[in-house]
């Protein structure tokens, strides 16, 4: 029963009264400006108005709001900080945006079990700061970490710059409390490192993009904070040498914490913002970081510097201290936003390939940009084979946007041909909906739909995202 009528989001006076009585007038917003402010997220071009915004303050309020919405078949769109890049929080069918920012408490940092328990609205970098203060470490660090919420990270299975050595969000989620559209509050997992009691609902909820239920509490795994870290920058006269360096480093059995890649245009804009004095005459750079015990870090950094030189790096520089390294990485985190200096609209993609195919993928992206005459810059988590080809364009130019779509279409297909994926970390949301079946097949989509139905029979949870509603979608370029 996938109701998709345009009336789904309508909130009558009585329903509004019910919702206000649950969350309180201060936390129920429905004036035109407020609705407009929740009509978008960090995804370019997509926009659609919700009918109301609620900011619940407790799990009871979440459950009560969901019950009302479920009864009246009103879509509910959970939202953290709205930094996702897949249209995941666009209220495409109207309805209620459920902003989870008030769940911003860290309830406990358990130094015996190395876990932290927190609300989903905690900002990722705040979690980092809190656990590092007691010598612990929460590795997932998406570029947006100073803004994004841990709930949003969980729902997107966010990656980051330390994915190469430490994995991504899913590797750190031990337990969740969540609320189903029916209002039932459930728990899955907990502080146990081992837990095989039944299906792994925790893992299922990670990356569920708000389509199954609302996460209200999270228990994460922590590690001891590495003793030290060191950063290395290698500059190249061509892209492919840089990509090959990455392949060689991994093949030589060194696993650094981070290998990030930026091409020339990206270096330029990042430098404009951060004023680092990067050699912007170079075609590409790698930013490599290793952490751990001092001797190991020094040994690995030297080895990697050697490999970089051998593979043709024009210049290799080791950051003098941790602050200098941190500055370089912070600048890299700003890459996507900095690129939007160039043209009005910045569309970024997330094609990911096995690491051994990185050089080939980089070359393909260059070729495709040339073929469709669009401006594409590439940066990304090279160590994970996770590239962010980013197109600088202008949403007002329909003809150009169409060429952009064609170019990205070809990039996705190339990634799949090389054994990669259409999205490494940004998720399906609305943006990749048309490509999902290419990756998981009809059978995969059918099963996802049935899972979705089991959690959310009325399809009120973030409808129009992740799971296609109507059969198999024809693969078309948006016209």
């Amino acid at each position: 029963m996938f109701s998709e009528s345009k009336e789904t989001g309508y909130i009558s006076k009585e329903i509004k009264r019910e919702l206000v009585s649950i969350v309180g007038a201060e936390w129920y917003l429905d004036s035109p400006n407020e609705l407009y402010a929740y009509s978008y997220d960090a995804t370019p071009i997509f926009q659609s108005m919700p009918n109301a915004v609620v900011m619940p303050g407790s799990v009871e309020e979440v459950a009560a709001v969901l019950k009302v919405a479920n009864r009246h078949l009103i879509p509910v769109i959970p939202r953290g900080s709205g930094t996702n890049l897949a249209g995941g929080t666009i209220p495409i069918h109207g309805g209620i945006v459920m902003n989870m920012n008030r769940f911003n408490q860290i309830h406990e940092i358990d130094q015996q079990n190395l876990t932290a328990t927190l609300g989903p609205g905690v900002v990722t970098a705040d979690l980092h700061q809190a656990v590092e203060a007691v010598g612990l470490f929460y590795p997932p660090d998406p570029g947006s970490m100073r803004i994004s919420t841990v709930g949003g990270n969980l729902a997107q299975c966010a990656g980051g710059m330390r994915g190469l050595k430490y994995g991504v969000t899913k590797d750190y989620i031990l337990g969740v409390e969540y609320v189903l559209p029916s209002g039932e509050v459930l728990r899955s997992g907990g502080k146990n490192v081992k837990d095989v009691a039944g299906y792994d609902m925790t893992r299922l909820l990670v990356g569920s993009e708000g389509t199954l239920g609302v996460i209200t509490e999270i228990t994460v795994k922590l590690l001891p904070l590495p003793e030290t870290k060191r950063t290395l920058a290698a500059y190249y006269k061509n892209l492919v040498d840089a990509a090959r360096t990455v392949e060689r480093i991994i093949a030589s059995k060194i696993i650094p914490a981070t290998i990030e890649f930026m091409d020339q245009a990206t270096m330029k804009v990042v430098d404009d913002f951060a004023g680092l004095g990067l050699p912007t005459d170079m075609k590409a750079m790698l930013l490599i970081e290793q952490d751990g015990p001092e001797e190991l870090v020094v040994r690995d950094i030297e080895k990697m510097a050697e490999i970089a030189r051998r593979e043709g790096a024009a210049d290799v520089q080791i950051a003098r201290n941790m602050e200098e390294g941190a500055k370089l990485l912070a600048a890299r985190r700003a890459a996507l936003s900095a690129l939007s200096r160039i043209r009005p609209t910045t569309i970024l993609e997330d094609a990911t390939v096995p690491r051994s195919k990185l050089a080939e993928m980089v070359e393909e992206i260059e070729r495709i940009a040339e073929k469709y005459q669009v401006q594409i810059c590439t940066f990304g988590h090279a160590g994970d084979g996770n590239l962010h080809p980013t197109c600088m364009t202008d949403e007002r130019n329909k003809e150009e946007i169409q060429r952009v779509e064609q170019a990205f279409d070809e990039i996705f297909r190339t990634a799949l041909r090389l054994g990669g994926t259409i999205t490494g970390e940004h998720g399906v949301g609305m943006a990749k909906l048309n490509y999902l079946d290419l990756q998981v097949g009809d059978g995969g989509i059918e099963l996802m739909k049935r899972i979705k139905q089991a959690f959310d029979p009325n399809n009120i949870m973030n409808p129009g995202k992740l799971v296609p509603n109507h059969g198999r979608r024809r693969l078309v370029v948006k016209k």
Binding site: E7, T8, G9, Y10, L29, S31, P32, N33, E34, L35, Y36, A37, Y38, S39, Y40, D41, A42, T43, P44, I45, F46, Q47, S48, M49, N51, S81, G82, T83, G87, I90, P91, I92, G94, G95, N99, N101, R102, V123, S144, R146, I147, V269, V270, D272, F273, A334, L336, S337, A338, S340, R341, P344, T346, D394, E395, R396, K398, I401, M430, K478
Partner: protein, 455 residues
């Protein structure tokens, strides 16, 4: 699904392609630069930097949200109504978001445009906002009236005659502000003292430059002594200091309130006054004024002559910290054994990029123990007249700030802007720290360290 007509579903383009012009009711055209608006890619990097977002958690109170609302208005998807006005004025205009923004979105100028659009629209619909009207039309353009206010404040302070303020009606204009200024401002110079000011103060060593001091309107009354201290420091650093006649208010508050016409009038007066004075540098000691003074050339679009004169003026404009840090080093004879921290002025740090200079100067004072504050460059909530127009939000922001101040365990908070100084004084009182801490303008502090004990 949508309570607002138009544009729902997935948008593939704005309502109007060229979208940089919108029509107001009286047929005048305002310009929102759509390219600048579109430069914002909604990444949210600015969110944690924004004090009003931190306080409310509401997207509409964030830079990203405000820019989206401007986009909505520019595309005629949202009306220019009271709600939009409230949202645009809830912004402090502190421009912390500009510093945080990797995309280089010129938020400050977008905000000025938005407020201009609002004020223009209000004029046509006869909706004056009286507090701003009174302050801007009746007070700031007339130095005499400000002097009168100064005299009044002086009298109130000297005699404790609260009722006098009430009688003249001034108390109605600034009900809380009057009480606050009285409580927070230091000794206000008597009219007599101001009259005996020398017009030129000579360099105390070999003369390097002639400097015109921009005394500011409120600054010269509430912080007359700070102006004198600034002048003394400049003479010790080798400058002749001229108190230029006929200068007016800088116009910053007018621009930030969408009153462009009035602002331009003030700018012209200042440009003329300093042209006649024929100085090497023009120095101001109020971060808020300085940012506006350095942007005069942006106020004269379509008037190349004035634009050029404005540019010449701007090229001479320096913040006092900026010039003093560049001049051959001042030597401070008097050690100050205190722990001190610095609160950035938003318009000095985010507006003019001046962060290191005041810190460096302070660190040169012998005996000083400098403690950097967390989020020192986050707005204190004073923001021009924000603490008058949005008292409650301003105080929430101030209380958040005072938590960070307390952490530093400093005995002195130095600032570089009169508004911030008053606000910090107010914050110290609110936090009950008046026995442990004082707020001082950087110039006054440097001047203290300059004077020998017997002076």
């Amino acid at each position: 699904m949508s309570t607002i007509p138009e544009k729902t579903e997935q948008q593939t383009g704005p309502a109007c392609e060229s979208a940089s012009l919108i029509n107001s009711e009286n047929g005048k055209l305002h310009k929102f630069n759509m390219d600048e608006i579109l430069n914002c890619m909604h990444c949210g990097f600015c969110l944690p930097a924004c004090p009003t977002y931190r306080q409310t958690g509401r997207e509409s109170a964030s830079p990203r949200g405000r820019i989206a609302l401007m986009k909505g208005v520019a595309r005629e998807q949202l009306p220019i109504d009271e709600e939009f006005e409230n949202n645009m004025y809830l912004c402090l205009g502190c421009r912390a978001c500009e510093t945080a923004c990797p995309a280089g979105v010129p938020y400050g100028s977008l905000l000025e445009t938005a407020r201009g659009v609002i004020e223009e629209n209000k004029k046509s619909s006869q909706r004056p906002s009286w507090i701003r009207r009174i302050v801007f039309e009746k007070l700031f353009p007339y130095p005499k009236r400000i002097k009168a206010l100064g005299t009044l404040l002086w009298a109130v302070q000297a005699t404790g005659l609260q009722s006098l303020a009430a009688k003249t009606g001034l108390i109605k204009i600034f009900p809380r502000a009057m009480a606050e200024m009285q409580q927070a401002s230091g000794k206000i110079a008597s009219p007599f003292e101001r009259k005996k000011r020398k017009r030129v103060m000579k360099a105390e060593k070999e003369k390097l430059f002639t400097v015109g001091l921009f005394t500011g309107c409120v600054m010269d009354i509430l912080f007359y002594e700070t102006n004198q201290a600034t002048a003394r420091l400049l003479t010790k650093a080798g400058c002749d200091v001229v108190f230029v006649e006929n200068q007016a208010c800088c116009g910053a508050l007018h621009v930030h309130s969408g009153e462009m016409d009035l602002a331009v009038r003030l700018a012209k007066r200042n440009i003329e006054a300093f042209e006649q004075a024929n100085v090497d540098w023009i120095v101001n000691n109020a971060g808020g004024c300085g940012a506006a003074l350095k942007e005069y050339h942006h106020w004269f679009h379509g008037d190349p002559d004035w634009k050029e004169r404005a540019l010449a003026f701007v090229n001479k404009m320096r913040d006092a910290n900026e010039l003093l840090a560049e001049l051959p080093s001042l030597t401070f004879g008097k050690p100050l054994p205190v722990r001190i921290t610095y609160q950035d002025s938003c318009h000095l740090a985010h507006g003019q990029g001046i962060r290191n200079q005041p810190r460096e100067l302070l660190k040169r004072i012998p005996g000083i123990e400098y403690a950097e504050m967390e989020q020192a460059d986050s707005c204190c909530g004073s923001a021009g007249i924000y603490n008058l127009t949005h008292f409650d939000m301003s105080m929430r922001i101030l209380d958040e700030k005072m938590e960070n101040v307390k952490q530093t365990k400093a005995q002195i908070i130095a600032t570089s802007n009169p508004g911030c100084l008053l606000q910090m004084k107010q914050g110290i009182l609110r936090a009950g720290l008046q026995d442990q801490m004082e707020a001082v303008h950087v110039m006054d502090l440097l001047d203290r360290a300059m004077q020998s004990p017997h002076e």
